[in-house]
Assembly symmetry: C2
Homo-oligomer: 243 residues x 2
């Protein structure tokens, strides 16, 4: 089992705040000791840092935490390699990233999708896994469907939801499928078993800030709520948007 972390905010906020929540979960207070990854956006480009080592011991993660990176969207992941044949390599470490129509797309998954490789419904077209995980296969499938949906103009929340709904429903038949996906504008959150969120609203640097945090389990003492299972949730600038 892995742990997901997501953040969507109205205004840029410190990436180190998200990191501080994630880091102790990876091998210190949590059992997810096979890797960690963090992606955040600078405009249309995702910066992705990941390593197949425990987050709590990572010198690299400790180092990033000292940088003053700021972003409106963050996706993080702590990995427990499961099944173990999906080895501890950088290629098997989440989040995964691909370019589609001039934007970075980023994906992280919690769960298992046994049989995805062999199922003809999930044959891949344009995008292909570099590593050996079911998760990266699922990401490539979602991107194939998003690529079909776009004629080159940017996808809105409704377009994203319409393209994702059929493959997500089909993938849910295989097993646990809790994921976060982003293109730098939208943060898509989906769970068929477990994913929680909390909303924060405050004044930050003189601006009204709105933030939504998503995580596999509650990471703070705030009143985290489970997200509605089986439904695509799309967040833009810290708020859920109709999709």
């Amino acid at each position: 089992m892995c742990e997901l972390l997501g953040m969507s905010a109205k205004h840029e906020t410190d990436v180190s705040h998200s990191l501080a929540l994630l880091r102790p979960r990876g091998g210190e207070i949590g059992p997810h000791a096979d890797g960690w990854g963090l992606a955040f956006y600078e405009g249309r480009e995702a910066r992705v840092f990941k390593e197949p080592v425990p987050a709590a011991e990572s010198r690299c993660l400790a180092f990033i935490a000292e940088y003053d990176y700021r972003s409106t969207i963050v996706i993080g992941h702590i990995r427990k390699a499961n099944p173990p044949e999906f080895g501890r390599t950088s290629a098997n470490t989440h989040p995964f990233s691909r370019e589609l129509k001039g934007r970075s797309w980023v994906f992280a998954h919690n769960g298992k999708l046994p049989g995805i490789d062999a199922d003809p419904r999930f044959t891949l077209e344009r995008f292909h896994p570099i590593g050996s995980t079911d998760s990266e296969h699922a990401f490539c499938l979602l991107l194939d469907r998003l690529a079909r949906a776009t004629d080159g103009s940017p996808l809105g929340a409704a377009d994203v939801a319409a393209a994702l709904r059929p493959p997500v429903e089909a993938l849910c038949e295989l097993g646990e499928f809790n994921f976060l996906l982003s293109d730098g504008m939208h943060l898509v959150a989906f769970a068929n078993t477990e994913l929680h969120y909390v909303v924060r609203s405050c004044v930050e640097r003189g601006c009204r800030q709105e933030v939504v945090l998503l995580a596999t389990t509650a990471l703070t003492d705030e009143a985290w709520l489970p997200i509605e299972p089986g439904r695509l949730h799309i967040f833009v600038e810290g708020r859920e948007t109709a999709a």
Copy 2:
């Protein structure tokens, strides 16, 4: 003007050796102070580190140098943003990376290709720039042509050369086009103005090691030679291969 660095080796060797050559060129003894980037391979996956800050001042680069990363292929780049409208952002920092048929492809460029955006010969299909540089546009074009050339089976050196030759010749008409490109097996080197190489052969950890280093200008006291301009050179395991 930017500076390129490439390495292809028969056996894995320390990435920090390549870094040590690159780092002082970025803002300390060279004027290339707008960014640095380094990619190396772990199997089919490229790990890419880059920052829009001077290499010589980068805490991140200093940090990577302390890690014991090993690889058979490295591509590095030190950036002088030119023209300045291609801003100092991560998206505009080389090397660029994309997935094609389950492998990471990595590209870094030295030179200028004015007019690439407007020229109908260079209209893009599948791959699109995330940033605003002529370099990333050229990379996307080369990948579009490589994507057309593959039916899914791995590309050999002759396939890679055959796919690249026409677009590379056409791009040369626009201006300076010195680049390094890799899929983790092949290191493609091309120059129409300036690129040098040196070959090293030694016994390392009990194995016969073969290494080729490529760089814009000689980086050591060894006898660096200019590569033959206008011709695609493809290196595999530290040696040039017929293409």
